[in-house]
C-alpha cells in the first residue's frame, strides 16, 4: 500500500484523482490481489489506465464506447467472484447506464467498483454534456451502493483500496483536474463511512466533499480573519452511507454549511438536509447548501467554472459571510 507523505502526495496531485488511482494505486493493489479485473469504456488513456493495461493485459478489458455493456460485463465477471473495477467518464457512468447499475449492483447486489472519471466540472471546455453534476444523487439512491467523493488524489487511492476490501458495490467520484495541491501530505486513516475532521470548531461547521474541499480550507482561513468565530471543517468523503455520528457533533453549531461540486439538489447538501430534518436533538443549526446552481453552465476552465458557481474560495467566503451576518449578532462575531 502506497503511503501518503510529502513526496507521494505531490506525485498523486500531479496525476489527479483518477490518474493516481489507476496509474499507481491499482497497480500496487493488483500485485497484492490476483483477482482484480479492470474494465473501461474507451477511457483507458484519459483515466490513467495505460500502464495497468500494459502490465496486466489479461486483467484489462476495454469494451469500447458502450457504458451499458461495460456495466453488464463487469457484473458478470463480479458474479464469478472477481473484484471488478469499471471506469468511464462520470457523466456517462452515472446516466447512460444508470438502470444497469441499479439492476446488477443494486438489485443483484454485485460488488462492482464504479470509478467516475472527470466528475463535476472536470471536463471543462467539453461542456455540459460532459459534466457530471447529478451522479451522487443518482448513485446514492441505489440500495446498498456506497458513494465516495475523495477530496484529493491521495485520498482517492485510499478510497479504491478500501472499496476493494469492502465487498460492497461502490461509486468513486473523481473530481478536480490534475495538478491541484494535495490536502493530505502525510499518512492518515481512511475508513469508508467515517468523515475526517480537518479542523475542529464550535460555531460554524463546513461539511465538504470532493476536490472543492481545498477551496473550503482557503475560505475558512479568510473567514477566520473576518470573524471571531470558530469553524469546524469536515471532509465528508463518504456521502452514502453518511457519517451520522460525525454530523451529530455539528449540531451545537449555529450554522451548518455543505459544499460540493454537484447540483445543490440531490447530493451531499440534500443528505445533510435529510439528516437535520430527522434529528430530534432540539438543536437546529441553520443549513446553507452550497454547490452548483441547478442550471447548466457556460463552459470555461476548471477555476472559471468554480468561480462562476461561487465555489472558489472568494465565492464561498461571500456566501458564508452573508449567512453569518444574518445569524450572529455583532457581539457574537
Amino acid at each position: 500500500m502506497t503511503e501518503i507523505n510529502k513526496s507521494s502526495s505531490r506525485v498523486f496531485a500531479r496525476l489527479g484523482q483518477s490518474g493516481a488511482v489507476f496509474g499507481v494505486g491499482l497497480i500496487d493493489q493488483a500485485e497484492a490481489a490476483e483477482n482484480i479485473v479492470v474494465l473501461t469504456a474507451d477511457m483507458a488513456k484519459p483515466a490513467g489506465l495505460s500502464k495497468f493495461s500494459a502490465l496486466h493485459p489479461e486483467k484489462f478489458y476495454n469494451v469500447g464506447i458502450a457504458e451499458q455493456n461495460l456495466v453488464g460485463v463487469a457484473a458478470g465477471i463480479a458474479n464469478e467472484g472477481f473484484k471488478v473495477v469499471a471506469s468511464a467518464q462520470a457523466c456517462f457512468l452515472s446516466m447512460r447506464c444508470y438502470e444497469q447499475v441499479r439492476q446488477y449492483s443494486g438489485y443483484m447486489g454485485l460488488p462492482v467498483i464504479y470509478v467516475g472519471v472527470s466528475a463535476g466540472f472536470g471536463l471543462t471546455f467539453f461542456g455540459n454534456t460532459h459534466y457530471a453534476l447529478e451522479d451522487v444523487s443518482l448513485y446514492r439512491s441505489i440500495p446498498g451502493m456506497v458513494v465516495i467523493s475523495p477530496s484529493d488524489a491521495g485520498q482517492a487511492v485510499k478510497a479504491m483500496a478500501a472499496a476493494l476490501a469492502s465487498g460492497d458495490p461502490v461509486y468513486i467520484r473523481c473530481t478536480g483536474v490534475p495538478g491541484l495541491a494535495p490536502i493530505y501530505k502525510e499518512e492518515f486513516e481512511f475508513e469508508i463511512g467515517k468523515g475526517i475532521t480537518l479542523q475542529d470548531g464550535s460555531d460554524i461547521a463546513i461539511i465538504s466533499s470532493g476536490s472543492v474541499t481545498r477551496n473550503v480550507l482557503a475560505a475558512v482561513e479568510m473567514l477566520e480573519k473576518i470573524f471571531n468565530l470558530s469553524f469546524k471543517i469536515i471532509d465528508m468523503h463518504t456521502i452514502s452511507p453518511i457519517d451520522k455520528d460525525l454530523l451529530d457533533t455539528c449540531l451545537n453549531c449555529k450554522i451548518l454549511v455543505t459544499v460540493e461540486e454537484h447540483f445543490i439538489d440531490g447530493g451531499l447538501g440534500s443528505v445533510v438536509a435529510e439528516f437535520l430534518a430527522e434529528n430530534h436533538s432540539g438543536n437546529k443549526p441553520h443549513l446553507l447548501r452550497l454547490g452548483v446552481k441547478n442550471k447548466f453552465s457556460i463552459p470555461g476552465d476548471y477555476s472559471y467554472l468554480l468561480k462562476a458557481n461561487d465555489l472558489d474560495s472568494d465565492g464561498l467566503v461571500k456566501q458564508v459571510t452573508d449567512v453569518v451576518r444574518r445569524d450572529f449578532s455583532d457581539d457574537e462575531m
Binding site: 478489458y61 451499458q68 456495466v71 465477471i77 464469478e80 446488477y104 438489485y107 443483484m108
Partner: protein
C-alpha cells in the same frame, strides 16, 4: 442426456404447470405466450447441460443458463420443476404474496436460478462477463443466454454481442426465442428486425436457424461446436400448445377463465 420421449414428456409437463400456475394467478394474469414459446428450448438446455435433481450452485465450473427475457419466468420455473430443481410446493407459490416466484425470475442459486431478469436486454452483457470470468479461470463451461426477439430491439443486446465476438467467447451461446410477437402485437409491424440471422452473422456469430419446438433441431444446434460464439435463432410459436393462445398477441400477458382453463388442459391431455 435424456431421450426425445423424455424431453417431450417434460415439455408437456411444463406446459401443464404453466396453465395450472397461470390460472392460479386469477385476474392478475401471467405471461402465458412467452412461457409456452420457450418451454422446448429450455427443456433441451436442461437435458443437455444440467444434471437433473440437484441445483449445483457450489461448483465453479457448472454451466450457466441466463433467462434474459425474464417474463418467461413461468415457463422457466415449470421446466425447473420438471427437472427437479424446484419442488411443486415452491412453484405453487407463483405470484402469491411474499413468494420468490413472481413474473420475472429472481436469482436463487438453491433453485438453480443464476440471474435476476425483468429488465429486457440486460442478460447478454452479464453472460459475456461470466464467459470472460470463466476464461480467466480456465473453466470450459457454457454460458447460455436466452433472449426474446422483441428484446433484441434493445441496443444493449448488440453492444453485448459485439463484445462476445470481439473476445472470441466460444462458450457463449445466444438463443433468440423468435415468436414474432411482442407486448403491443406483431413484431414486424412494430419494429421489423428484417434479416436477424444476417445481423447476428455480421456481428461475428455462427448462426443456426431452427424450429424452436423440434427437440432434435434444438439439441443439434446446442451441441454444435466451433471457433465462434453461437447464436441460435429458434423460430417459435407464441402460446405454443394451446390453440386459442397460439400466435395471439393478447396472450403475451393475460388471465384464464375457468372455461378457457378447462379447454387448455383438455388440449394438453390430447397431446400426451
Amino acid at each position: 442426456m435424456t431421450s426425445n420421449t423424455d424431453t417431450y414428456e417434460k415439455a408437456l409437463f411444463s406446459r401443464r404447470r404453466i396453465i395450472d400456475l397461470g390460472y392460479g394467478t386469477g385476474r392478475n394474469g401471467a405471461h402465458f405466450g412467452s412461457s409456452l414459446s420457450l418451454v422446448d428450448i429450455v427443456t433441451i438446455i436442461y437435458s443437455i447441460f444440467f444434471k437433473a435433481g440437484v441445483a449445483d450452485s457450489k461448483s465453479a465450473d457448472r454451466n450457466k443458463f441466463i433467462l434474459s427475457k425474464g417474463h418467461g419466468a413461468l415457463g422457466y420455473f415449470s421446466v425447473l420443476e420438471a427437472f427437479g430443481f424446484i419442488d411443486s410446493i415452491d412453484t405453487s407459490g407463483f405470484e402469491k404474496d411474499g413468494s420468490n416466484m413472481f413474473a420475472h425470475a429472481h436469482k436463487n442459486l438453491s433453485q438453480g436460478i443464476e440471474y435476476s431478469g425483468g429488465s429486457l436486454g440486460l442478460g447478454p452483457s452479464f453472460g459475456v462477463g461470466v464467459a470472460i470470468a470463466n476464461r480467466i479461470r480456465k473453466i470450459d463451461s457454457k454460458v447460455i443466454v436466452l433472449v426474446g426477439d422483441g428484446e433484441c430491439d434493445e441496443g444493449m443486446v448488440w453492444e453485448a454481442l459485439m463484445s462476445a465476438s470481439h473476445y472470441d467467447l466460444q462458450n457463449f451461446i445466444l438463443i433468440v426465442d423468435r415468436n414474432g410477437l411482442q407486448s403491443d402485437g406483431d413484431k414486424c409491424s412494430i419494429m421489423d428486425q428484417k434479416d436477424l440471422c444476417g445481423k447476428l452473422a455480421s456481428f461475428g456469430f455462427c448462426v443456426h436457424e431452427i424450429d424452436g419446438h423440434d427437440h432434435d433441431e434444438i439439441r443439434n444446434a446446442l451441441l454444435s461446436e466451433g471457433p465462434l460464439p453461437r447464436a441460435i435463432v429458434a423460430n417459435t410459436v407464441k402460446g405454443k400448445g394451446i390453440s386459442f393462445m397460439e400466435n395471439n398477441g393478447d396472450w403475451h400477458h393475460g388471465s384464464l377463465t375457468e372455461q378457457q382453463y378447462t379447454l387448455a388442459m383438455e388440449e394438453l391431455d390430447k397431446a400426451s
